[in-house]
Amino acid sequence: MTPVLATVGSVITGAVLALFTVVGGVSAISPSPNAPSKSEQVVIYDAP
């Protein structure tokens, strides 16, 4: 029973972590954090 539980638990854990990792990781490496606008004449403090 224990090995079965361990297997099931590990698979579920891995799947959950993988899901979050893919969703979050792809977002995290998306470009353009704090990118300057070519046309701006004022540096906006809360610019994306």
Binding site: P3, I29, P33, I44, Y45, D46
Partner: protein
């Protein structure tokens, strides 16, 4: 009960420390490289100098005091780059170990799984990410000191320690200035007052009084000048700095997950996914609930006190019907302006939530069937990381050490050697996108590098509008420029002797007009300075500034001396770290 002293020989003592150090390195990543990190509110000077700005002498309400002075002091000892690395690393390690120490205070026999889960959750959260992304290391310092302060306050209420249990935490928070001290002192006072009322204990009430006195003393360097000058804060600030939703789960949902910072430019991209934001909110809420329930005796109620008080304040700041009340609190009550950026008040929620996640991991490791323990603990350890993946390796390029151009630094040295006189700074804005800093938004370096009074535009340009600054001189210059006066003439009319233009800062400067406005005294690719013939003034300290600094230094020395007198065998700096994490 097991020993509370940290045992460096036991894996339970060593592993969390190693984990805390490794994750701090992983988060800071490229920020630990050669040079200094310059981003938003962290324009770390490569050349530590006691400038009037650093000492808070040239502004009505000093905001970078005494934190910048501490950075300069450390920088003079080990160099600016190393000082910044040490400060940032120490803050993240102290935060992680502090949350683990709070957990151990609540659950003395907590195992390694719980400690490690708390170490991870304390750092990998939106609060740390959003504040670090905007360079507000002093707010993260407050967060880092907070769990130690809460632990000390609980001990005072239990009667196992004197008020000195919270004094070092107040001292370290005091180094961070207004925001760090507000969060830590506010939490300590609410716990102590709740404890005094609950137990009808005079010693605890006295401890609350002493804590309040220490707080007032440590605040002197910035509070005395600010209360004396009574600067008028822009009424738009209360709204502009209120928490906002950084995710699809709304403002409250964002705050419950540890996010909700007003600056939308810092919002982590992963939190735009409802799955991630909702999971973060549920996890942190469950963590807080578990920590409060797991606390022995009535410690849960004591810990709930700062959560409740700070929670009410945060709700006031985001509640439409309470807008008038919040505005009155922020703008009419002396010192109320410190509450303006109210999202910082969720700091106790974040550290208690991190401790609670440790409780959850500990229970999973003890109570689940053997086969499920490993996966469950792995899940709880890994979830905070995958919910805030942007923190890894410098928050998507936000934290990256750069080398300030040598010609800029040489130009500043040349300026320092010139006869006395105030410096007017162009471009007429305090924010820059230095080309050599990968065009990141940052405050100008000049007030922290130029050892003179620097007159600059202290207004805050936001996408929602501009928040007025507090300098009357800067306001006059802005008014003149708005009326069509050339910037160099507007500055000269306010009595500056030199006009300095930072070049390559992402904003245009009419260098031709500037050169023709006087005698060029510094001519470098990154810095142009012209003597426009103003008065030869030297910076002078106001009486309020000197008094404030005196009070703060005496209070700090008093705490250190108190410590020395009580425990001569232990040094102050190692006192916190030697407590069992």
């Amino acid at each position: 009960m097991t020993s509370r002293r940290w045992d460096p020989r036991s894996p339970r003592g060593v592993v969390p420390v190693v984990l805390a150090v490794l994750q701090a390195v992983l988060v800071l990543g490229p920020g630990l490289g050669r040079g200094v990190v310059i981003t938003h509110d962290m324009p770390w000077s490569p050349d530590p100098r006691w400038t009037p700005f650093v000492l808070g002498l040239d502004t009505p309400a000093p905001r970078a005091v005494p934190s910048d002075a501490v950075a300069v002091l450390l920088g003079k000892a080990v160099g600016a780059s190393m000082a910044q690395h040490l400060v940032l690393l120490t803050i993240l390690v102290t935060l992680a170990l502090g949350a683990a120490a709070l957990l151990a205070e609540l659950v003395p026999d907590v195992g390694m799984a719980g400690r490690c889960a708390t170490v991870v959750a304390a750092v990998w959260n939106p609060f740390v990410s959003e504040r670090l992304a905007v360079g507000q290391w002093v707010v993260v310092l407050g967060l880092a000191v907070l769990p130690w302060a809460l632990r000390g306050a609980l001990r005072v209420v239990r009667g196992t320690s004197t008020v000195y249990a919270v004094a070092p935490a107040l001292l370290f928070a005091g180094l961070g200035g207004v925001n760090a001290l507000l969060v830590v002192s506010g939490a300590v006072l609410t716990v102590l007052l709740a404890g005094a009322v609950r137990a009808r204990s005079w010693p605890v009430a006295r401890a609350a009084g002493v804590s309040l006195l220490l707080t007032a003393g440590l605040a002197g360097a910035w509070a005395v000048p600010a209360l004396t000058a009574r600067p008028v804060a822009d009424a738009l600030g209360a709204r502009a700095f209120a928490p906002v939703a950084d995710s699809p789960v709304g403002v409250i949902g964002s705050l419950l997950g540890g996010g909700g910072f007003w600056n939308t430019g810092t919002h982590p991209e992963p939190r735009s996914h409802v799955l991630i934001a909702l999971t973060a909110a549920l996890l942190m809420t469950a963590g807080v609930a578990l920590a409060l329930v797991a606390a022995p005796g009535r410690d849960g109620l004591l810990l709930a006190a700062p959560l409740a008080v700070f929670g009410v304040l945060v709700l006031l700041s985001v509640s439409g019907p309470a807008e008038q009340l919040w505005d009155t609190l922020v703008h009419r009550v002396p010192g109320g302006g410190a509450l303006r950026d109210s999202q910082k008040l969720i700091a106790p929620w974040v550290v208690v939530g991190a401790a609670g996640l440790g409780v959850l991991a500990d229970r999973a490791a003890r109570r689940l069937p053997a086969g499920l323990r490993g996966p469950a603990v792995a899940l709880l350890l890994g979830l905070p990381l995958v919910l805030s993946p942007q923190l890894a390796w410098g928050i998507g390029g936000r934290l990256d050490a750069v080398t300030v151009p040598s010609d800029y630094r040489q130009g500043v040295d040349e300026l320092a050697a010139l006869p006395p006189g105030d410096v007017g700074l162009l471009p007429w804005s305090q924010y820059r996108r230095y080309g050599w800093n990968d065009s990141r938004v940052s405050l100008t370096l000049a007030p922290r590098t130029v050892d003179r009074v620097v007159l600059y535009d202290d207004s805050l340009p936001l996408r929602s509008g501009t928040i007025a600054g507090e300098s009357a001189r800067a306001a006059e210059v802005s008014k003149s420029i708005g009326a069509g006066t050339p910037p160099d003439r507007a500055l000269a009319a306010e009595g500056v002797r030199y006009v300095a233009a930072e070049l390559g800062s992402g904003l245009d400067v009419d260098t031709g007009a500037l050169r023709s406005s006087g005698r060029v005294v510094v001519d470098r690719p990154s810095l142009l300075v012209v003597d426009v013939g103003g008065p030869a003034r030297s910076p002078s300290a106001s009486g309020a500034g000197v008094l404030g600094w005196g009070v703060t230094l005496l209070t700090a020395l008093g705490i250190i001396g108190w410590r020395g007198a009580r425990r001569t065998d232990r040094k102050l700096l190692t006192g916190l770290l030697r407590s069992r994490p």
